[in-house]
Assembly symmetry: C2
Homo-oligomer: 217 residues x 2
Amino acid sequence: MSAVSEQGAVPANRLDRRKARTRQALVDAAVRLIAEGRGQQASIQEITDAADIGFGSFYNHFESKEQLFQTASGEVLDRWAKMIDGACTDRRDPAEVFAVSLRISGRLAWAHPEIAGFITGAGLELVDAPSGLAPHALRDIRAGQAAGRFTVPDAEIALSAVAGGLLGLLRLHQRHPGRVTESSVDDLAEACLRLLGLRAAEARRIAQLPLPRAGSS
Amino acid sequence: MSAVSEQGAVPANRLDRRKARTRQALVDAAVRLIAEGRGQQASIQEITDAADIGFGSFYNHFESKEQLFQTASGEVLDRWAKMIDGACTDRRDPAEVFAVSLRISGRLAWAHPEIAGFITGAGLELVDAPSGLAPHALRDIRAGQAAGRFTVPDAEIALSAVAGGLLGLLRLHQRHPGRVTESSVDDLAEACLRLLGLRAAEARRIAQLPLPRAGSS
DNA sequence: ATTATCTATAGATCTATAGATAATGC
DNA sequence: ATTATCTATAGATCTATAGATAATGC
């Protein structure tokens, strides 16, 4: 048995590196297929074709389609979470954390189209994903409620609405790239802050705060 | 060729009535399967089993699974639209029309669980459905923008957020029936009105207006 | 006699695996 | 020599249709 490489570490020898490349090709193909809206629907043959590897190699890495798609989702969600965490360090106000997170997420449409495509392909199920952004976002909203900053009564319903808005924006950008700009993203953040219960003026101010320079990517 | 019966009219003879029953059994089964979250994924065999009809009868009524599911969606969307229209007659203010529509839709969780189940099963794709509620809701939001009542800049993104909120509420009710009440629905409507740009006090007032008695159903 | 439904099945996928081939380790 | 990849294929679905059966019309 070859040594299990740490997350992100480059495997020690060439054989393991080749193996890692094949696996990554499968994961990337899965992400593309999800982005095209035919996630679970694609056959394993289509997946291995898209990954440009032999059909049988699939089973060297995953036991089933479900397992591959779960792995692929987890990987993209991790990247997304890291982007947001990078941009939110040293923010205290839950409303600011929330707004920055949403504005960064909307900007994925330009900064990381493959993540944006995955998000629109995955749809609202993202809100239910136990690992990923949903728990993080829920915590932000609940912190805002506890601080008396958000008056909306149910955090889960509010999160679902915010996620719906983000999905709407990302999908609109895919279909009509010209109709969505960074300022549309900020408008969405502003509207969501009002939904959460902030006064209009305060929502506008927070949705316009300067964003940190694009993070580690 | 037997006479094509008008929409909703009872067919003239017993043969046509039997045929209509079989077809309806298929449509109802499709709606149930969508509600269970395995719409297109179910095999035709599963569909005919759920409808309790012979396998081959499927092809007497539909050419493909896609066609059945499209028909089933169209039918439920029609019922939904009729409920809303019934409740919104003689309302002029776009904000009121919007709020009543949303409050009626949320109350489907109790009044018409099969419609609510279909909505949660279908997900955000509903916003893109060309026939159905989306165009109707979009018109309401645009009317509100034109009247200067809604300040949110992009109607489509706002609609997607509202739809996300509704889906979140309906799903929450499915998983934890106790945690959602009619007043949760009104809270959601209030939050959505704020998102659209109404002042907090005005949003509250409109979300609390009396609803008409349950309509024709 | 006509029409819809049902049962059975051919043909087309799709999944999972076995065995052959190619690449790397030592 | 070892390990991953690739090709080929058996077995399990799934779809679409043909032909038999049951229900209704006239």
